[in-house]
């Protein structure tokens, strides 16, 4: 054998070994369920964040467009103050929940981990994510021969390469244990989609309890990769599951919900999905982009406004309303929704091409579902306001809560040229500096201009259980 042939054979053997060894990082099993530990809402301290004022933020998907818009909203909240009981409180410190999807999850996770360091001008988040060509990093990683060998393994996919990129750029070795150790709100809901159930999958310990998985062994970069795991571009992300190995006891709400297929099918199916995580043969869960099941990240908030117990939704805001803990509820929806994918199609008799058709079928159902989700939230809050008023008139003693619904989206821009400029920014992980600057500015501006936001920060007294919706 010639020296060249020997070297080639050696290289081939090395690559084969590498491929054989390559696999996704395994999540560790949970020895036993302990509600007093792990990344759970109840385990975060609320010392400087009162639940009397309960603030929920939702960050939509949409690549860097969504991340930068959410960033602008955080910047504005950082500079805003609200009066509660004669005390001035910083609004960003009062945020209890951030629920995010896809591009929005980068901003949410980095803020949850590093808090105000996210705002450092020229700092890591700006330099290595918002203003960076992350797509080039992803392509470089994909084109490396080292990656090809690993991609030959059936348990190592393109999503693992993406996770490595996000780890090196933003999150290092941080896991959910770091968020638990941090111990402060906001409680992050980084949302992906469970392929098998078609339902939302949030990276919180209560979601992983029936799977007997220790969330603290999972890296933040992996959760963010799952949340932004755009189908086809990346491979589904696999999580281990160890059902039946941690003494998990099904909470009472599940059996009750399973009695109500006709009374409350939504609750019934949530219970059915919950049970499926406990099925002994399900040793893996496969995750896709959170946007596939809810591209606006609002479904968890809707669940928290419906479920009356903390066993059903661990941060149930309805439970806190019924127990008279919450006096003021603020929901801020940050929606980086783009324009219609075929805005000029109707100006020509020519049939739109395959690319436009694919664009339409891949984005329109998500956009329509997001629209309905936002409307459902608004109706839910409106119903609560009406219920409070009726109860007040009837003297039945329902707790009166001031309700604020604030929507930050490009369609709130009155100027058509500006509106279209932002709506036409593509969903990418590489945007020009002026676009990122513009998105940050518009996020802050749209929040600032919201009449309900102005009412929230300008008000000294409660509004007597009214809903402000704008």
């Amino acid at each position: 054998m010639t020296p060249l042939a020997k070297r080639s054979l050696g290289l081939l053997l090395s690559l084969t070994l590498l491929a054989g060894c390559a696999s996704f990082p395994e999540a560790e099993p949970l020895e036993h369920v302990d509600t007093g530990s792990g990344y759970r809402y109840a385990n975060l301290e609320g010392a400087d964040n009162s639940e009397e004022l309960f603030v929920i933020l939702s960050f939509s998907g949409g690549g860097t467009r969504a991340a930068a818009l959410a960033y602008g909203v955080l910047e504005r909240l950082r500079d805003s103050w609200v009066e509660m009981d004669g005390e001035s409180r910083n609004l960003l410190d009062e945020v209890d929940i951030i629920s995010s999807v896809s591009g929005g999850s980068f901003t949410a996770a980095y803020y949850g981990l590093h808090r105000d360091a996210i705002f450092e001008e020229g700092g890591r988040f700006q330099r290595d994510f918002l203003y960076r060509d992350v797509e080039a990093d992803l392509k470089r990683r994909l084109l490396s021969p080292f990656s090809w060998a690993r991609l030959a393994s059936p348990t190592f996919g393109r999503i693992e390469l993406a996770e490595e990129v996000y780890q090196s750029l933003l999150f290092d070795q941080a896991t959910f244990a770091d968020l638990s150790d941090n111990g402060r709100k906001p409680f992050l809901l980084i949302n992906a989609t469970d392929m098998d159930k078609g339902s939302q999958f949030s990276f919180v310990q209560s979601q992983l309890d029936p799977m007997c998985v220790d969330l603290e062994s999972i890296s933040l970069s992996r959760a963010v990769a799952a949340s932004s795991n755009f189908p086809i571009a990346f491979t589904p992300l696999t999580l281990n599951s160890y059902p039946g190995r941690c003494g998990y006891v099904e909470p009472p709400w599940v059996a009750n919900a399973l009695q109500g297929l006709n009374t409350n099918p939504r609750r019934y199916y949530r219970a059915r999905h919950w049970q499926r995580y406990q099925e002994p043969e399900r040793d893996y869960v496969h995750l896709l982009d959170g946007g596939v099941s809810d591209n606006i990240g609002l479904r968890p908030a809707l669940d928290a406004l419906r479920a009356p117990t903390l066993q059903e939704v661990e941060w149930s805001v309805l439970n806190k309303m019924n127990r008279e803990i919450v006096d003021k509820l603020v929901v801020i929806v940050v929606d980086a929704k783009p324009e219609n994918p075929t805005p000029d199609a109707d100006t020509s008799p020519r049939s739109p091409g395959p690319r436009q058709v694919i664009n339409t079928i891949s984005t329109t159902p998500l956009a329509n579902y997001s629209f309905d989700t936002v409307e459902l939230l608004r109706e839910t809050l409106r119903d609560r306001e009406n219920a409070q008023r009726l109860s007040l008139d009837a003297g039945t003693g329902m707790h009166q809560i001031d309700l604020y619904y604030i929507y930050v989206g490009f369609d709130q821009l009155e100027d058509a040229t500006r509106r279209e400029r932002f709506q036409r920014i593509p969903t990418r992980f590489n945007l020009p500096t002026e676009e990122v600057d513009g998105l940050r500015q518009i996020g802050a501006e749209l929040l600032e201009q919201s009449p309900c936001f102005q009412q929230l920060v300008g008000q000294r007294e409660g509004s007597g259980g009214r809903l402000c919706s704008h």
Binding site: N256, Q311, N319, N322, T396
Partner: protein, 75 residues
């Protein structure tokens, strides 16, 4: 679907739904439609011990009313 429940008891006491604190007696609370197991916070001086109810077709002005009574102290 939002439904409404009022638990009546001679004292103000926490109402437990499915085994956890979830509301207060004498006040209307909001729940999701469906089946629930209701009881009160300790002390165990009330009857019955628990009640399983289906909450549906209620209004804030006409909630499902569930009553617990104070037990007579034993001899």
């Amino acid at each position: 679907m939002a439904e409404y429940l009022k638990v009546v008891f001679p004292q103000r006491r926490e109402v437990w739904i499915d085994g956890e604190p979830a509301a207060w007696t004498q006040s209307v609370c909001q729940v999701d439609a469906g089946w629930y197991t209701l009881t009160l916070a300790p002390p165990q001086d009330f009857a019955p011990e628990s009640q399983r109810v289906e909450i549906t077709d209620t209004l804030p002005s006409a909630p499902l009313v569930v009553e617990f009574t104070l037990k007579e102290p034993g001899p």
